[in-house]
């Protein structure tokens, strides 16, 4: 047995290409689809987006006869159709954090940045891939949710609304856009904190702890401040009407988009500067 015989021969590569953004986009897509957490989180997100409203509609429909007039007045078809958005956003946010933070916890970020040492294309690709897939799944999900809940409610001919009525189509579609933006915001948090638990905690703090905390403030302060919180501003884009202490859909959407842009800008700045 000779050592020469066992010398491994590395096959040569005939063609060489450079790193381009479409290639990084494809690479990030491969990474995204090839871990289990993606299917799980998106599956849970869709299930909640559709399942929660179905349950809501079924219960409303079956109890309509016994409900008081006030109760009946408090139910709106749009609230029922989009009831899943508020819970689905958590699943989407967790995945958003995870897509970045898991790269750091497993160390795969070193392989990623060795292949794409300019780094920023990786962040843009992750954001774009995630935005595309969450929109592609959430738009059908909210549409299914809207038409299915309407069908359930139509059996007793209650709470019927046309999708062509003013604002309805906008609200339904913006429900999906909101979830997508929440996912991007969470991804930016994940890139800033670089830690799964920390990223999810930060997201939960901003979206689920901060709003109720505002009620400890004097009423006038709360009224003035709360509408500008990311969660409250963001949800206006899928709300039909706004009150005296909530922003208009357009203003709320712009405020929430500004939060997302700021978080992504901070993430990008840190991504370029920090050691990995």
């Amino acid at each position: 047995m000779s050592a020469v015989a066992s010398t491994p021969q590395v096959p040569r590569l005939e063609t060489t290409g450079r790193v381009t953004f479409p290639r990084v986009l494809l690479s990030e897509w491969t990474k995204f689809r090839s871990v289990r957490s993606t299917a799980w989180s998106l599956g849970v997100g869709i299930l909640l987006t559709i399942g929660f409203p179905l349950l809501f509609a079924a219960v409303t429909s079956s109890h309509w006869g016994q409900m008081s007039p006030q109760d009946r007045a408090s139910r709106s078809p749009l609230d029922i159709a989009l009831a899943g958005v508020n819970v689905a956003q958590l699943a989407i946010a967790v995945l958003g954090v995870l897509v970045v933070s898991a790269e750091y916890s497993t160390g795969s970020i070193r392989a990623t940045f060795s292949a794409v040492p300019k780094r920023l294309p990786v962040l843009w690709a992750k954001l774009l891939d995630y935005a595309a897939i969450s929109l592609a799944l959430m738009v059908p999900a909210v549409l299914i949710s809207f038409f299915a809940t309407q069908a359930i409610l139509s059996r007793h001919d209650i709470l019927q609304v046309s999708v062509t009525a003013p604002g309805i189509a906008r609200c339904v579609l913006m429900g999906a856009v909101y979830v997508m933006l929440v996912g991007l915001f969470a991804m930016a948090l994940g890139a800033i904190v670089r830690n799964t638990a920390g990223g999810i905690a930060l997201f939960a703090g901003i979206f689920f702890v901060l709003p109720p905390l505002m009620f400890t403030l004097p009423q006038t302060w709360n009224n003035a401040i709360s509408q500008y919180l990311p969660s409250n501003a963001g949800r206006q884009i899928f709300s039909l009407d706004h009150g005296s202490h909530t922003l208009t859909p357009l203003a709320g959407g712009l405020v929430f988009a500004a939060y997302c842009v700021t978080a992504i800008a901070v993430a990008a700045f840190l991504l370029r500067r920090r050691d990995v």
């Binding site: 066992s6 096959p11 040569r12 590569l13 060489t16 290639r23 795969s108 392989a111 060795s114 040492p117």
Partner: protein
């Protein structure tokens, strides 16, 4: 070719790499040797641009790593720490790397076959043994057919067959004209693989030399002396830079003097010698002698073995 100039990196108060300057030439295997914690992995991360230096510069094939439009064709790297998502299969890990450069899927399969991971390529990498992880890392390093290969402790966790395979692989890559830079904390491993050595300790350059020179330099000036009158001989030889280590009965190892110097001193003092033998330190001893003073936590004069244990 890798060029490192006055490279310095601090982590807080701790200086991990301290003014390193060296060049790694193509066509040979260059060993990067140093005790654990001496800054080898940090240096490699700095070369790859994963960490930014506080001072100095590192370039690969004439450019900063970050400025290469196709880095995987320039440098293939295996880092010491795992760089694979535990939930992703070996195949998809390599595919994602290949896709950043538009490298065909066929190449991914070739690399998997090359490192012998064919049967487990679709398994989650988290289930891999240390050795399988190393093989995957080597496949990732070679996927772009790079001009320069940078491997941090590649034989860690490999079985003897795997170690043999890596040795031949490195030699083969160098013979093809590539730059091969491979770190280890084991001198004996480097002696079998490397042609040239860069030795560091506490982040500082200790030696930049061929393997042969390194051994010769580190092992000179150790002489075994046997004499019936050791006490007087030691009195005669004592001086700055000279130390004694008791060997077997009636003999002593003199450090810091050549055989000629010891013989001359014995003759002029009229001390009878029964043996006068220059010692060739083993590679491991040569390495330890060189790095003894540079060991991170080495107490003054404490035996190295105790320090690294």
């Amino acid at each position: 070719m890798i060029e490192v100039t006055n490279l310095t990196k601090d982590y807080g108060d701790k200086r991990a790499v301290d003014g390193l300057t060296f060049t790694v030439q193509p066509g040979i295997v260059t060993g990067f040797l140093g005790p654990n914690g001496s800054g080898k992995s940090t240096t490699m991360r700095l070369i790859l641009g994963l960490d930014a230096p506080n001072k100095g510069d590192a370039t690969v094939n004439g450019k900063h790593y970050r400025d290469h439009p196709a880095p995987l064709h320039e440098v293939g790297a295996l880092l010491e720490a795992r760089s694979v998502h535990t939930g992703r299969s070996a195949y998809n890990h390599l595919l994602a790397l290949a896709q950043t450069h538009g490298i065909a899927k066929r190449r991914v399969a070739e690399m998997i076959d090359l490192v012998g991971l064919h049967d487990v390529a679709r398994k989650r990498a988290g289930q891999f043994s240390l050795g399988m992880g190393q093989r995957l890392g080597i496949a990732a390093a070679l996927i772009g057919d790079p001009k320069t290969v940078l491997l941090d402790e590649p034989v860690n966790g490999l079985d003897p067959e795997g170690i043999h395979w890596v040795r031949n692989l490195l030699k083969g890559l160098a013979a093809e004209g590539r730059t091969v830079f491979v770190s280890s904390h084991l001198m004996s491993e480097m002696a079998l693989t490397a042609d040239h050595l860069i030795v560091i300790g506490r982040g500082k350059l200790i030696a930049d030399t061929s393997v042969d020179e390194f051994v010769a330099r580190a092992s000179e000036k150790v002489v075994l002396v046997r004499s019936p009158d050791l006490t007087r001989l030691q009195e005669e030889l004592a001086g700055p830079g000279v130390s004694f280590e008791s060997a077997e009965r009636g003999a002593v190892e003199v450090h810091g003097l050549t055989a000629e110097q010891v013989g001359d001193a014995a003759a002029s003092a009229g001390v009878v010698l029964h043996e006068l033998t220059p010692q060739h330190a083993s590679l491991e001893e040569a390495f330890m002698n060189l790095t003894r003073d540079e060991l991170e936590f080495g107490a003054q004069g404490a035996p190295v073995e105790e320090v690294v244990a």
